[in-house]
Amino acid sequence: MRFNSIRFKASVLYSTIQIIILVVFSAVVFFSVRAMLYHDLNQDLKIKAEEVAGILSAYQQVQRVKEYPVRQILGILKGEGAAASQKMIIDELWRSQLEVLNLKNDFINILNINGRAVLSSNNFKKNVEDLFKKQFPFVQNDVIYKTLTSEGYQLRAINLPIKFYDSPLVIQIGTPVESISNILDGLLAFMIVTVIAFLLLTSFVGRIFVEDALRPVREVSDLANSISYKDLNQRIEEKEIDVEMKQLVTSFNSMINRLAQSFGHINEFSSYAAHELKTPLAIMRGEIELALEEDKTTEYYKNLLNGCLEEIDHMIKVIKDLLLLAKLDYKPEIFKFEKLALVPFLDEIYEHSKVLAETKKIKVRKDFPQKEIILNADKVHLRRLFFNILSNAIKFTPSRGSIDIKIALREAKCFIDITDTGKGISKGNLKRVFDKFFRVSDAQQQEESSVGLGLNIALSIAEAHGGKINVRSNLQQGTTFTVALPLA
């Protein structure tokens, strides 16, 4: 797995979030349990201390002797038993209470107001005493809980002030926290193991999910690698993938579609272009080879050379038009758009076409509205568009026919109709008039040098202006080309 891969980043992100959540959750659980356990322990300690205090006052009530109970308790705590037989019942009670309170393992110390121990349990040895003195100095008025730590063991201790014969005493009891530590250690160990196991499991599952989610990416790149211009019909399946990946796959597929289309166009186009350029070469080669077979007259050679010149001119025209067409379609920056007043612009074209149509005695008429129509257009290219359509119209209109140029406005667009009275275009050919190198048979015979790209160039120019060209025709009546252009 690479470090700069999405898979790696997603896994790291996923695992990091997992770790944070699990650690925070475990910590909250751990500290809540710990707090709860210590709270219970504190309660226990308080009950014990209060019980000790209670027993002290019980002795006080029975004996009404100031010194006795302390000494008694001291004895009992030391395990010496009761000194006086009449106190047996109370002693028994005390002993049983000791059992109930489970004080055997606890360290009990009772201090007077000066901080001097007046009474300690048997097990309150020197090391414990030092620990208490060091870490838990008695406080006269407050109930205090604290954990005392020494090498090898920990104690939870309470400091409880009481009244005894109107003089204040302080009971300090320390109890080992072993049980709680055991529980907490167990919990901690359990949590660490669980968190690690959970992390391993989820990172493994997460990895599988990420791999699955990224599968289309690999498919896209595999396919992209395998595609060459020869097999542009391959597509990635779009079903059963996530929305984001679907976008990627859809975009990729539509890119391939566009590429396939472009390659199709280029193929078709180059095949047409080769055909158009090879034909004049074939003609010249045939004629020259024939002429070289035997000596001919000067007139023959002159005719031959003139014929060759014609073909050369035609080839130059084809190449020029092809280059222009490529520019129109693939170099939009050649267009210089500016505000253009349509009516004066078409007036100029109308005047020119009248001159062009004169040789065939064709009448050119105009029907322009007397208002200002402004377009955003490239004047030079737009002129070419209209001349291409008009020269086509003149070519296909018989002598003494007519051509009408009309402007109409609808829905923020202007429509320029150019209608001739030629023999019309058959339905089958109507679809093909904008195909490259398409020529109807009549034109072929009338004018050999027709290139067959004029309408194509016109259409490309119209499209660059955000417009289009429509054509409709009735056989034997004429043809109308309608140029639709958006208003500025």
């Binding site: 090879k278 034909t279 074939a282 003609i283 045939g286 004629e287 080879e289 024939l290 048979s441 015979q445």
Partner: protein
């Protein structure tokens, strides 16, 4: 005398091939589109057709199929500026293919080879060529 029909929309191609094969001693007929070619084939005894592919209205591939329907044994050499591979793709099983830019020397060879093969073919089928044409006419 063998008769060759040159079907091509380019007048100068027809004129050149006409001169070439007339000099070679053939009778040469011309047709500038599929309709004309069809008329010539049905009303003349043709031995070989030089057939262009790219023609306006009805192109050579359709004319080939139509002609072969009732003149199965007519020699047809496809003659176009398309490459030979493209020609073979567009029209399958023609007797030969000629790229117009190859020059007339190659064309002459292909025509004479096709016609001698055709003669061979005709002998094998017992002169069915002519009879069948007469029947069709």
């Amino acid at each position: 005398m063998k008769t060759i029909l040159v079907v091509d929309d380019k007048e100068r191609i027809r004129r050149t091939y006409n001169s070439v094969f007339t000099k070679e001693g053939y009778r040469v007929l011309e047709a500038s589109n599929a309709d004309e070619a069809n008329d010539v084939v049905t009303s003349n005894k043709i031995d070989l057709m030089l057939l262009d592919i790219e023609m306006p209205d009805v192109n050579g591939t359709i004319l080939y199929d139509v002609t072969k329907l009732f003149r199965k044994d007519l020699n047809i050499i496809v003659s176009s500026v398309y490459s030979l591979d493209d020609q073979r793709f567009l029209i399958k099983n023609a007797d030969d293919y000629f790229d117009k830019s190859e020059g007339i020397k190659v064309l002459k060879e292909k025509v004479s080879r096709a016609l001698s093969n055709g003669k061979h073919k005709k002998d094998e089928t017992g002169g069915g060529h002519e009879n069948r044409f007469d029947d069709a006419g």
